[in-house]
Amino acid sequence: MSRNDVSRAGGGLQTRPSQPAQLADVLERVLDKGIVIAGDIKINLLDIELLTVRIRLLVASADKAKEMGIDWWEGDPFLSRNGRDQRDLDSRLRRLESAAGIEEGDGE
């Protein structure tokens, strides 16, 4: 699959020929973006442990980023269009984690 790798070789841009799209990019789009429709079967994506691990990594990263002062995309409603979702996810994630007794830093 090369369609996701149009990075140009010219001009010094990084190029990654013949590699499939990075899994993180696909997960981010397919699990977190796109039109949300409730079908017949209830799939609670927040119940995916893998996903909660993933989200926790994002949360940890946000905290880390804040520490580093690189949090410019936070707080600006235009730049962080999904800020409200994220806060909702954060609080649901904390509830899930405390219910499951998951410690910070657990792997997958």
Binding site: D40, L50, L57, S61, I70, N82
Partner: protein
């Protein structure tokens, strides 16, 4: 041993114009008015409630299904305008798919109109902190003794702070310039190192909706690369993607 045919369910990948030509491989279109849902059959057993949690937590299963979802959307997007659905929209009957199209008709038609003739491009900016700091110059002076040591530590700290400020400034400035070359754009949370597996820090994780294949944005990206590489920041372009980031109605709508 002859097994009874497994119960099937309908998995919905997204929505296209009803005028769209024959869909890819083993997916089909379910039309309602000007809209058509892109659906494929999946074994109901895979998504039964008692096994679903286990399946979703099976890394191999999840990756295969998430990639399959994206793959169908990508192949569709090559020939038609598509509104991607989020993972896991499943119906038992085709009639329920039609009912969904009827209920969400206005929202789906508006989303289609918004992304028609446009694609999503991803732009990441990666900062190599060591290069960023080195580019700032004034390496800590040598010398020995307690006073020189303290002086050196102070210089190092100041330089680290300036590097952080510079990285933020570059990411924000690049995003603003990329927005100007796009119809719309969003800066998503940069992915953490645990996910990227890279030494460099991701300081921009942007998605941009562009027209004409994004020629203007690609050119701008080359400019940004030339401009900021000496400061230790490299840019990466991904896509075109189906417009996942640009089909949800605005929160305040």
């Amino acid at each position: 041993m002859i097994e009874a045919p497994a119960a099937q369910a309908w998995y919905v990948y997204g929505v296209v114009d009803a005028t769209t030509a024959a869909p890819v491989d083993d997916v089909r279109l379910v039309e309602h008015g000007a809209l058509a849902a892109v659906v494929g059959q999946v074994p109901l057993a895979d998504f039964a409630e008692d096994v679903l949690a286990e399946r979703l937590n099976d890394r191999v299963w999840l990756e295969a299904h998430v990639r399959a979802h994206e793959d169908v959307l990508m192949r569709l997007a090559e020939r038609a305008t598509v509104v991607p659905f989020r993972f896991g929209v499943i119906y038992r009957e085709l009639g329920d798919v039609t009912a969904m199209l009827r209920q969400r008709r206005d929202e789906l038609a508006a989303a289609l109109a918004h992304v028609r003739g446009r694609v999503e491009l991803g732009v990441k900016a990666w900062a190599d902190r060591a290069r960023v700091e080195a580019a700032l110059g004034d390496a800590p002076a040598g010398g020995s003794g307690g006073r020189a040591y303290l002086e050196r530590r102070r210089t190092e700290e100041e330089r680290a702070q300036r590097a952080t400020a510079l990285m933020t400034e570059i990411a924000q400035g690049a995003h603003e310039r990329l927005l100007a070359a796009a119809v719309e754009g969003v800066a998503n949370r940069p992915q953490p190192r645990e996910l990227t597996g890279r030494e460099e820090t991701m300081i921009l994780n942007g998605a941009y909706l562009v027209e004409d294949g994004g020629t203007a944005l690609s050119e701008l990206l080359r400019t940004l690369q030339d401009e900021y590489a000496p400061s230790g920041v490299d840019f990466e372009l991904t896509g075109p993607w189906p417009p996942h980031n640009f089909v949800e109605p605005p929160e305040d709508a």
